[in-house]
């Protein structure tokens, strides 16, 4: 049984903001299917009473003093921007 369909792959690609071709969709469907099938071996384990681990060290919220500091100069911030104008980063129009 296939775990993931080409339509699902296209849906996931859209969520991930990736444009994929039909060819890529087919390839990813096959590859993701085999990786997900492989991952399903985890179901052999009974984890009902196991707490999930998201972080290995016993750490709670880490706070710092709320002290204002100088930000980066505008020229530095814009240095790597692909497109900017009048001190602002420029992107394609988002409103028609």
């Amino acid at each position: 049984m296939s775990r993931i369909s080409a339509d699902q792959v296209k849906h996931v690609a859209n969520l991930a903001r990736l444009a994929i071709t039909e060819e890529e969709a087919e390839m990813f469907t096959k590859q993701l299917d085999s990786i997900i099938s492989f991952a399903e071996q985890l179901n052999e384990l009974d984890t009902e009473n196991v707490e999930p681990t998201s972080h290995v060290l016993d750490m709670k919220n880490v706070m710092r003093e709320d002290k204002p500091e100088k930000g980066l100069p505008q020229s530095e911030v814009l240095k790597n921007a692909p497109d900017h104008q009048d001190g602002q980063i420029k992107v394609p129009a988002i409103i028609e």
Partner: protein, 485 residues
């Protein structure tokens, strides 16, 4: 004979007595890079002018109290996912081809304080995703021991540059074995510190709960010195740990009498090649002769680590790599009709195939309806894997096994089959999931290719790892062998 056949402390003595200059060290690096990097292809970007000028200025201070630091003037290579102010940082990805960082990673600030000299930036698998350096968007680094084989990955450039004598030492990063596996393949010493030991600030994030920066060196002693320089709590990384940093060099006694070693049967079982298994058993004999004792143990959930790792690391990656959208930095597509279209085309044109595959897997595992079945399940399995280590470390000081199931494989051999490629990391991944430290040191050869011994320690006990590794290294001469290029 290369200057880099000397250890850090030997070079330091020579500098101090003015029998050697910092310029000599820097020239040694660039001369060797000129000679062999056409073949090895370890470097993506060189910082020649700056390094030479800095060396000259440092030479004026030689012999003064101001130049007493142990790492003063030592040439280092930096993996290209560690941001370096004013020095192009690409993560070996098209999407960051022209990225010029506006700040330094914390490890770079620490190296500046120690006054090492940055020679250049090292090749890697794109965004540290891979085990062979074949996923770099720019070049394929080769294994200096056999140019038809891979150097390992993702820190392939870090390991190959040290093995071929292009730099004295380097920094890499390790998410699932990315320091230890290439160190094993290239016959050098590579350590993944305890999660939290070294600040991740300025390390371009792949999987934030697993990533650690660590040292790649020719000897265990040098490794301890370099770790010393980069360790410690950092206010810029809230996951860096508030624990004391011991003097690692004090562990280099050579005395392992009474040391209790655990050898997981899962690490010597199916899939591990015979010569690899034999090299580990031989290494255990060496340690036994020195007074250590070993017993077989079980880490029963080891076989599930690979699957849990790929779900967790890809999920974290899919979130971390959302920042590459063509807006604030990096590559942007030329032909966008709308904002969403720009995101999609930028990312599709900018990322390589393996990176896209993992973003897809991670997005799927986190998506509505699948989160509990895949992501949360994997997090629970992570707990079981961590518990395995906790249990063994109640009775033993270190865990020993091979670093990789096989020596370096041929370029192109595994590239079309993601699952086979992933299986390379089966012995290193559990260490990242648990967060404990681990090292790979040279322990033999198979058909002229190096083999690595993995020594795993308790949380924040890199010292016992170094103690064990140093004793083994002093009793053997694998680390003295050099590839002929």
């Amino acid at each position: 004979m290369s200057l880099f056949d000397n250890s850090v402390s030997e070079l330091h003595q020579l500098l101090h007595k003015k029998e050697l200059s910092v310029t000599d060290l820097v020239e040694e690096s660039y001369k060797r890079i000129n000679e062999v990097d056409d073949k090895v292809q370890a470097f993506l970007t060189l910082d020649e002018e700056k390094a030479r000028n800095a060396a000259k200025a440092m030479d004026d201070r030689l012999g003064t109290d101001d130049a007493k630091g142990l790492l003063f003037g030592m040439p280092i290579g930096i993996k290209d996912n560690i941001v370096t102010k004013g020095l192009r940082t690409t993560c070996a990805s098209k999407i960051l081809d022209n990225f010029d960082p506006i700040y330094d990673a914390t490890v770079m600030n620490k190296l500046h304080n120690a006054e090492t000299l940055t020679i250049g930036k090292l090749n890697m698998d794109e965004f540290a995703m891979g085990s062979s350096n074949e996923n770099s968007a720019f070049k394929k680094t080769k294994n200096p021991w056999n140019l038809e084989t891979v150097p390992g990955g993702s820190s392939g450039g870090s390991a190959a540059s040290v093995a071929s004598g292009e730099v004295l030492f380097s920094l890499g990063s390790d998410t699932g074995g990315s320091i230890r596996q290439p160190a094993a393949f290239c016959g050098v010493v590579g350590l993944k510190p305890t999660y939290g030991r070294v600040s991740r600030y300025g390390l371009v994030a792949f999987a934030s709960s697993l990533d650690q920066i660590g040292p790649v060196t020719r000897t265990v002693e040098d490794n301890a010195y370099l770790l010393q320089a980069i360790s410690g709590l950092d206010p810029m990384d809230s996951t860096s740990a508030n624990v004391e940093v011991p003097n690692f060099a004090q562990a280099l006694t050579g005395d392992v009498k009474g040391l209790k070693i655990a050898v997981p049967k899962e690490y010597l079982g199916e899939g591990v090649r015979e010569e690899v298994r034999q090299s580990v058993l031989d290494a255990l004999k060496v340690l036994e002769k020195l007074g250590a004792v070993w017993e077989e143990v079980s880490l029963p959930h080891s076989k599930y680590a690979l699957a849990a790792y790929y779900l967790l690391s890809s999920s974290e990656a899919s979130a971390n790599l959302a920042r590459f959208d063509g807006v604030r930095y990096g590559y942007r597509t030329d032909d966008a009709t709308s904002l969403i279209d720009m995101y999609k085309k930028t990312r599709s044109e900018g990322f390589g195939e393996e990176v896209k595959r993992r973003i897809m897997l991670g997005t799927f595992a986190l998506s509505s309806g699948y989160y509990d079945a895949y992501y949360k399940k994997a997090q629970k399995v992570r707990t079981l894997i961590k518990n395995d280590f906790d249990e063994v470390f109640k009775k033993y000081d270190v865990i020993i096994g091979p670093t990789t199931p096989t020596p370096a494989f041929k370029i192109g051999e595994n590239i079309d089959d993601p699952l086979t490629m992933y299986a390379n990391d089966v012995l290193t991944i559990p260490v990242n999931l648990a967060g404990v430290p681990g090292i790979s040191i040279p322990c033999g050869f198979s058909n002229g290719l190096p083999l690595g011994l993995q020594i795993i320690g308790k949380y924040f006990d890199e010292s016992t790892i170094y103690k064990t590794a140093y004793a083994f290294e002093q009793a053997t001469d694998y680390h003295k062998q050099k590839p002929v290029l």
